[in-house]
């Protein structure tokens, strides 16, 4: 019987091809694991790419110490279940200085606890390639990025001078200290991600499903009160509401959406009729125009 490949089959094959290219040509790759739905898909694809072997690289989580508690529980559960090598890096200087999203604002917090922390971890282990789950449909600056995206020795991205990327022939050569960020999900859309999770039954953090959760309204966003560090401002009250998350990050910076979707099918159904983009739930992308590009030039994923 002739095999007809579906759109998802082709996206999957492309991602697997990219994983194998990196494993075959770099000496010390790592996969950035951010625990979100895209990371879950990426991890699933990494398992597929090297089956029956395990992925020949470790997974790195850059922990800002402000992630939802359920994310950390999920991370540890997955590491144990799939048996991958999990590295967790925290910017200890940032912790010592007490950097947090309330006193220092989302910009400084993200820069110190995410961007700087990531650079620290990459330097510490000397990784020459790092997989990330970014997609081109997420954001305008990402839409411009190569699948194999070159980084200077200082981890900076030079968007005006990217290497040409022809066919499926990837230039994987770097000098010592330089590295490549690799994005196997470049050509996936948010819709593809959810449909793939549905098709493959991929485990995801329960925060994606609607549930009654304690939230406050702040700056036009619905913020979940995940632990006692959440400071209430005058006039704010905590209420229990049926909400879920479209995208996950640091809990004080991530907006929930009202929803009753408690199954994957319902999430996909809801997503098909969404009127806003997923990044609207991310405070950090809204700080200033071109903020994603700026962060990426500084070494952010």
């Amino acid at each position: 019987m002739p095999v007809a490949l579906t759109h998802l089959d082709r996206l999957e094959a492309e991602a697997i091809h990219i994983f194998r290219e990196v494993a075959a040509t770099f000496s010390n790759p790592v996969m950035l694991y951010s625990i979100g739905k895209d990371s879950s898909v990426l991890m699933h694809l990494a398992m597929k790419a090297f089956y029956p072997a395990k992925p020949p690289f470790p997974f790195l989580h850059v922990d800002t110490t402000w992630k939802f508690r359920e994310m950390i529980e999920f991370r540890d559960r997955m590491a144990e279940r799939l048996g991958f090598d999990l590295l967790v890096h925290v910017n200890e200087e940032g912790v010592r200085d007490g950097i947090n999203p309330f006193d220092h604002g989302s910009n400084t917090h993200t820069h110190v606890m995410k961007t700087v922390a990531l650079r620290q971890a990459l330097d510490k282990y000397g990784f020459d390639a790092a997989f990330g789950g970014a997609r081109r449909d997420e954001e305008k600056a990402r839409a411009k990025e190569r699948i194999f995206s070159f980084r200077s020795a200082g981890h900076g991205w030079d968007p005006k001078n990217q290497r040409p990327e022809m066919w499926k022939i990837y230039n994987t050569r770097v000098a010592p200290g330089e590295s490549i960020r690799v994005f196997p999900l470049s050509n996936w859309t948010e819709q593809d991600i959810w449909q793939y999770i549905l098709q493959e039954d991929i485990p995801i953090v329960p925060l994606y499903f609607a549930k009654r959760r304690p939230v406050v309204e702040r700056g036009g966003m619905t913020i979940m009160v995940d632990d006692e560090r959440m400071r209430l401002q005058p006039g704010e009250t905590v209420e229990e509401r049926m909400v879920r998350f479209r995208t996950l990050g640091c809990y004080p910076l991530t907006g929930a959406i009202p929803s009753t979707a408690t199954t994957l099918e319902e999430i996909v159904g809801e997503m098909l009729t969404a009127r806003t983009s997923e990044r609207q739930g991310r405070l950090i992308d809204r700080d200033e125009a071109g903020s994603m590009e700026k962060k990426k030039r500084e070494g952010y994923f």
Binding site: Y51, A141, A143, K160, I169, M271
Partner: protein
């Protein structure tokens, strides 16, 4: 996302999401690019497509309205270009610098569109977008007609294997929807594209800004009987039917989790393979049978073009990354010489004779352009003689590789007939190639096996052969030192020979000048000659300015291990100019000599020379002693 489909989904309250998703998945995918000259409206068209297919979210629309007021070029209206020009520099300058990929869908098809820049200097980014596309929308401003960039982009699209063109005659509203204007442009395009081998060319009059003929036929162009842009994109047949072609499986990665399992991972580039099929290793011709087609989701009985699988063979055959598994019929070429179309991407021009890294999908080998056959003129596609290719130029070249690779002609197979060139020093991607045909030279000229070996020739002379490569500025003292050293070596019974730059240019290299291309060829010939002499057992002293690292490296790689000794005769420019033994610096500084190293042609000093000789304040005899001591220590004399 609010596609036409999902709107229907909401209205009809369709509940079975899994069925709906399955339906979505069976839609075909079309990858296309938009190209053409600056300001022809490429980004605006894509913004319009996204907007009209309802793929712009409310928050994105709000941002767009805000940005349009700030940077927009559409007066009070929405500037759709701002949706895709995602880089700060692009928004500030109002131009597209790099390719952006956008995604949209209609009830009939999914689309990935590459919005590519129109400026000539960013042609390599246009090529990046074109390399993965099956169709190109070539935009033309109705007021401007066909421009040089229209031709260049059409030629590159053709070279990169694109067979379907939409000629979008944009801003038709600005010429009052004039039929004659449209038809004249369409006619002119058809005439010049005749030789470009496109299967379909569909001209459509559009206004990206106002939406004419984008989704539905426009009332303003009642005289136009063809499809709207979307209608054409939804139905055009670009299927290359790759599954009917011979089986090709470039090996990416050998999977060996334990001693019992040895699988070859890769993506089927064309054709199909089934369990039990007899397959051939392309480079060696060894055969085996497919024992297992492994995937994470379970073993397959058959794999087709586009599938990523791991193949286990019945026999233990020698096979690794860079090689290919192929069908027993319709084998690929295996050769170390071929002719190819080359697009040049780098500021520094292509230099025939210089060694680059050639990378196919999985293979990597050192390669030089042995001959630049001709350059293509982008205006009339005429073949022109050329000695190098500059940034964004296109030409046909003969390539010579250090080792054979397995390949097909690009016209037969886009995956196995393409390659990129990488600069060995900067690691930049400097060119993209499309293979035309193998050159039979390698097949007909075989190495003659010789009974007297280089080792035997050296032994009879009781010496270790070497190539002492003296590099440095003109007047640095290379020849003086080499000459004195040869005398000493000769006196102690060594068999030597000096290849001197000036002398060789009187004979072997009398046809070469001092341009960068000629300098590269000069060094290549000298290196080959030195190699023959080292094979004969001699100690060869090469005294050449040899200003470029790449060529000195090429010379090093040509010799056997340990044979090549780089001697950097280090004399500062001012000192050389002061000494000026041949009066050349005086002339060069007056501009009477062109391409003079150190004056208007660069010298790249060695980064790690084997011997570094600083001449200032030292007698030549001292310097010779330094070199000799080094050689003695390592058993050369």
């Amino acid at each position: 996302m609010l596609t036409a489909n999902s709107a229907a989904l909401r209205e009809d309250n369709v509940v079975d999401i899994r069925d709906y998703v399955a339906g979505q998945e069976n839609k075909g995918l079309l990858r296309f690019l938009t190209c053409g000259s600056v300001d022809d409206g490429k980004s605006t068209l894509i913004g319009r497509l996204l907007y009209d297919t309802k793929l712009i979210f409310e928050d994105q629309l709000a941002t767009l309205e805000r940005d349009s007021k700030k940077h927009g070029t559409a007066g009070d209206g929405i500037d759709f270009a701002l949706l895709v020009d995602g880089l700060e520099a692009e928004r500030e300058q109002g131009i597209t610098i790099d390719v952006a990929y956008r995604f949209f869908a209609t009830p009939k098809r999914k689309f990935i569109v590459a919005d590519t820049p129109g400026h000539e200097q960013y042609t390599r980014n246009m090529a990046t977008g074109a390399s993965t596309a099956d169709l190109a929308i070539v935009l033309v401003d109705a007021r401007q007609g066909i421009l040089p960039q229209t031709r260049r982009h059409s030629m590159i699209a053709s070279l990169l294997g694109i067979r379907h063109i939409v000629l979008a005659v944009n801003k038709i509203d600005l010429v009052d929807f004039d039929r004659q204007v449209f038809e004249r442009i369409a006619e002119e395009y058809r005439a010049f594209a005749e030789d470009l081998g496109f299967d379909t060319i569909q001209p459509i009059p559009i206004s990206a800004r106002h939406g004419d003929n984008i989704i539905v036929p426009s009332k303003n162009t009642a005289w136009y009987g063809g499809p709207s842009l979307i209608a054409h994109l939804e139905t055009v047949d670009v299927d290359a039917r790759v599954e009917d072609r011979p089986f090709r499986f470039p090996v990416q990665y050998v999977s060996r989790p334990d001693l019992d399992f040895r699988g070859f991972s890769g993506t089927v580039a064309s054709g199909r393979v089934a369990l039990g099929d007899r397959v051939t290793v392309a480079k060696s011709g060894r055969q085996s049978r497919v024992k297992q087609l492994v995937t994470h989701g379970g073993d397959l009985s058959e794999a087709v073009e586009g599938q990523a699988v791991t193949i286990v063979l019945e026999d233990e055959v020698e096979l690794s990354r860079g090689n290919m598994l192929v069908g027993t019929e319709g084998r690929p070429h295996v050769a170390d010489q071929f002719a190819a179309n080359l697009v040049w991407f780098d500021e520094k021009p292509l230099l025939p004779g210089r060694a680059y890294i050639l990378r196919t999908e999985t293979d990597e080998v050192s390669a030089t352009v042995s001959q630049l056959k001709h350059r293509r003129n982008i205006n009339n596609f005429a073949q022109e003689a050329a000695t190098s290719l500059e940034l964004n130029e296109v030409g046909v070249c003969n390539f010579s590789l250090q080792a054979p690779i397995a390949f097909d002609a690009f016209s037969d197979n886009r995956a196995t007939g393409a390659f990129i060139l990488i600069d060995r020093l900067t690691n930049a991607t400097v060119g993209a190639g499309m293979i035309l045909r193998p050159l039979r030279r390698a097949a007909n000229i075989h190495w003659q096996a010789l009974d007297v070996t280089p080792q035997a020739r050296a032994e009879i002379k009781h010496q270790k052969p070497a190539v002492l490569w003296f590099t440095g500025l003109s007047g640095s003292g290379k020849s003086t030192i080499a000459n004195l050293l040869e005398k000493k070596l000769h006196a102690s019974g060594r068999h030597t020979y000096i290849l001197d730059g000036d002398n060789v240019r009187h004979g072997l290299n009398r046809d070469l000048g001092f341009t960068d291309e000629d300098r590269v060829e000069n060094i290549r010939r000298v290196a080959e000659t030195a190699k023959l002499m080292a094979d004969a057992g001699l100690i060869v002293l090469v005294s050449f300015i040899s200003p470029f690292r790449a060529e000195r490296r090429m010379a090093r790689e040509l010799m056997n291990d340990g044979e090549f000794v780089e001697v950097f005769v280090d004399t500062p420019f001012d000192e050389c100019a002061k000494r000026d033994p041949k009066g050349l610096y005086a002339k060069a500084l007056k501009g009477e000599i062109q391409n003079f190293t150190g004056v208007d042609s660069p010298y790249e000093p060695p980064e790690r020379a084997d011997i570094h000789v600083s001449t200032v304040g030292r007698a030549p005899e001292d310097l010779v002693d330094q070199v000799e001591a080094w050689l003695k220590e390592r058993g050369y004399c």
